[in-house]
């Protein structure tokens, strides 16, 4: 920008004294400099994202195993992928995980934000405490929660040592419940973040609206439900998009917490993709699963983009 500005200044003062050609040059640079300065970013993100998306798409239709090969075999990899039970497990898991994670994080974040919005003493400190988990790496979160849920180390043992010998918390070693331990850890990680978003949203709500509704005779829950929540719609929407993409790309938490286990009960599309592409020498299948993930993510994002574009108009 400073460049563009100074050029404009020069162009204006020099208009009378400089030859026409210089003038034309300045006009050109003024027009193209912003575009030119954006170009490297565009180039990098263009290749690093879109070229590789296309490449992945191409690979998914080949018979690539350990290294990329360009022998096209149509939808074989997709067929092979859908035939494996493990992909079914991963797909079911991501649905359970994403829906619970998003819904509960939003609800909990909203609840915390509402509570924190009641002019609580030490709000800054509380806000920091709730937000803190977000600053942790998912690996750390995963390890900590693995310990907490481990029946021989964590809560169950703690309760046992306290004398509650019948207390059981063995979800993480139970194939049908282990997925929920991931949900809990992930919610712990991000509900504080949602809270901060929601709190910002609540702070934007004119307090007199709530007072007006109180005088109108509505109870506080009714006011939040009917009046405040609709006002938070944009915040909720952004939070959903952020949580949604965090859910879909979830990888590190699974690796750190259960590593897909017990068995492959907590496999997710991302860990599935990694296992097939890099450990099992089935790059084509891995690519196919990436393309499916991209497809689902796109389906989820289309409404968002649609609304953004409509709003832009």
């Amino acid at each position: 920008m400073p460049f563009a500005n100074s050029n404009k200044g020069v162009a204006a003062t020099a208009a009378t004294s400089l030859p026409a050609s210089t003038n034309r040059y300045l006009g050109w640079s003024e027009r193209w400099l912003p575009k030119l300065s954006l170009f490297p970013t565009l180039l990098v993100s263009g290749t690093a994202i879109y070229v590789f998306i296309v490449w992945t798409g191409v690979l998914s239709f080949t018979g690539s195993r350990m290294l990329p090969r360009y022998n096209f075999v149509g939808f074989d990899s997709y067929r092979a992928m859908f035939a494996t039970e493990r992909f079914g497990v991963a797909a079911t898991n991501i649905v359970i995980y994403a829906s619970l994670y998003i819904a509960i994080s939003l609800a909990l974040g909203l609840l915390l934000a509402i509570l924190l919005d009641q002019k609580v003493r030490g709000e800054g400190l509380l806000r920091m405490i709730f937000l803190f988990p977000m600053s942790l790496s998912l690996i750390v979160t995963g390890v900590v929660w693995r310990w907490i849920f481990n029946p021989g180390l964590g809560l169950e043992k703690f309760a046992y040592d306290m004398g509650f010998v019948d207390f059981k918390l063995d979800w993480i070693i139970n194939p049908s419940l282990a997925i929920y331990t991931l949900v809990i850890a992930a919610i712990w990680q991000s509900s504080g973040f949602v809270m901060v978003l929601m709190l910002a949203g609540l702070r934007g709500v004119d307090g007199s609206i709530i007072r007006a509704a109180q005088i109108d005779g509505a109870s506080m829950p009714y006011i939040y439900w009917k009046i405040v929540l609709p006002l938070l719609a944009p915040v909720i929407f952004s939070a959903t998009v952020i949580l949604g993409h965090l859910a879909i790309k979830n990888f590190d938490l699974v690796v750190a917490m259960t590593n897909g286990g017990p068995g492959y009960a907590t496999d997710m599309p991302a860990t599935f993709m990694y296992a097939y592409s890099f450990e099992r020498s089935q790059i084509a299948v891995g690519a196919a699963s990436s393309i499916i993930m991209l497809g689902v993510a796109t389906l989820l994002l289309v409404p968002y983009l649609y609304i953004q574009i409509r709003r832009g108009r």
Binding site: Q214, I227, P230
Partner: protein, 370 residues
């Protein structure tokens, strides 16, 4: 449908800070009461206590005979119009107006009737399906009033409802509010910091300062007989001139020597005060700017007339009047003179007339009126 309000020894503190000191006030049913004062005077806190959004620290509050001191807002049967209008942004005008009715479980048919009634009254029928964001400030203000009126509460509260409007709309809405009150005759408490609004709207004005009520009275009483120098200077624009002086009778005629002594002029004629004041006692003389007249208006003035010669600082012709400022012994004095009555004055001084009986005297120690 309309209630009397009795406030007794109401006190409100926030921690160590006392916002309202022992406020006593009774309001008759149907009265339009304006609470006025500079910001921080406690008028909004008092309003919050009346509507129940804030709990008084001590004291009691009655609507008619009902003790409402500890009732939540929704059980007080009141309605309020806010400075920011506080319309529910996600609802249409219709939904805004019927929200309170819906909460009170009024059947749909009755609700519709009520919305129609209010909308007709306020001339907002064409706006019913709009959302607040699609309306102008004046329209929103009308909707906010409509929402308050739809419930037919026993008390209306207004919290600086006009301060977000431009000057022209403000005047228009002021008239609208006055019209609505004359129509429904519901007890109304109106908070403002604008003394013009207070004077034009109120049946009774309550002037507040630093958590104390300064004066309660009709607009005329407040204007003509301010209880103290604060009320005198707060109400009226430009404010009442307050000139320090010392009682000094000349030849048995009551009068005061302006302080500090010397300079021009140094003595003005007064009416003999009701309360005896000995010569030499200090006092503050209060004269409203419009009480000054060109000498040519002498025939229009009845009774005793005093004369005063003032040095001219600034003289602004404003068409209908001259606004004239002068420095009298260090104190700034302004005067509003009828332009029709006098030629454009020239020279360094101006001779003006006033009626001594229109002059207020204040005690410089307590600043109360003598």
């Amino acid at each position: 449908m309309t209630a009397a309000i009795t406030i007794k020894s109401l006190r409100k503190t926030f921690g160590a800070l006392t916002v309202l000191h022992e406020v006593d006030l009774s309001i008759e049913p149907g009265q339009f009461v304006v609470l006025v004062g500079p910001s921080g005077c406690g008028k909004s806190t008092l309003l919050d206590c009346i509507c129940g959004l804030s709990q008084p620290t001590a004291g009691s509050l009655h609507f008619d005979d009902q003790d409402v001191t500890n009732l939540p807002p929704r059980e007080r049967d009141i309605a309020m119009v806010f400075q920011s209008y506080a319309l529910y942004p996600s609802m249409t005008v219709r939904q805004n107006i019927e929200f309170g009715l819906k909460v009170r479980k009024m059947p749909k048919a009755e609700r519709d009737k009520e919305v129609t009634r209010v909308a007709t009254l306020l001339k907002i029928e064409h706006l019913l399906d709009r959302r607040p964001s699609q309306m102008s400030g004046g329209q929103r203000q009308r909707v906010a009033m409509g929402r308050a009126m739809a419930r037919r509460p026993r008390i209306f509260l207004f919290d600086e409802p006009l301060s977000n409007l431009d000057a022209k709309l403000r005047v228009e809405m002021r008239h609208e509010i006055k019209r609505m009150h004359q129509l429904v005759r519901t007890t109304t408490i109106y908070v403002t910091h604008d003394q013009v609004e207070a004077l034009s709207l109120a049946d009774v004005i309550v002037v507040m300062k630093e958590g104390h009520i300064q004066q309660v009275g009709t607009p005329q009483e407040i204007y003509d007989k301010p209880a103290n120098t604060f009320v005198a200077s707060f109400m009226g624009s430009p404010p009442m001139n307050l000139i320090p002086a010392r009682m000094k009778r000349r030849d048995g005629v009551a009068g005061a020597e302006l302080l500090p002594a010397g300079g021009l002029p140094n003595w003005i004629k007064l009416q003999e005060p009701a309360k005896p004041i000995a010569d030499g006692e200090e006092l503050i003389i209060g004269i409203r700017p419009e009480e000054f007249h060109f000498t040519s208006e002498r025939p229009l003035l009845d009774g005793d007339v005093a004369e005063l010669t003032l040095p001219i600082n600034v003289l602004e012709p404003l068409g209908s009047e001259y606004v004239f400022t002068s420095t009298v012994n260090g104190a700034e004095v302004s005067a509003r003179l009828n332009a029709k009555s006098g030629p454009h004055p020239d020279g360094d001084t101006l001779q003006v007339l006033f009626e001594p009986r229109r002059v207020c005297l204040f005690d410089p120690g307590t600043s109360n009126r003598l």
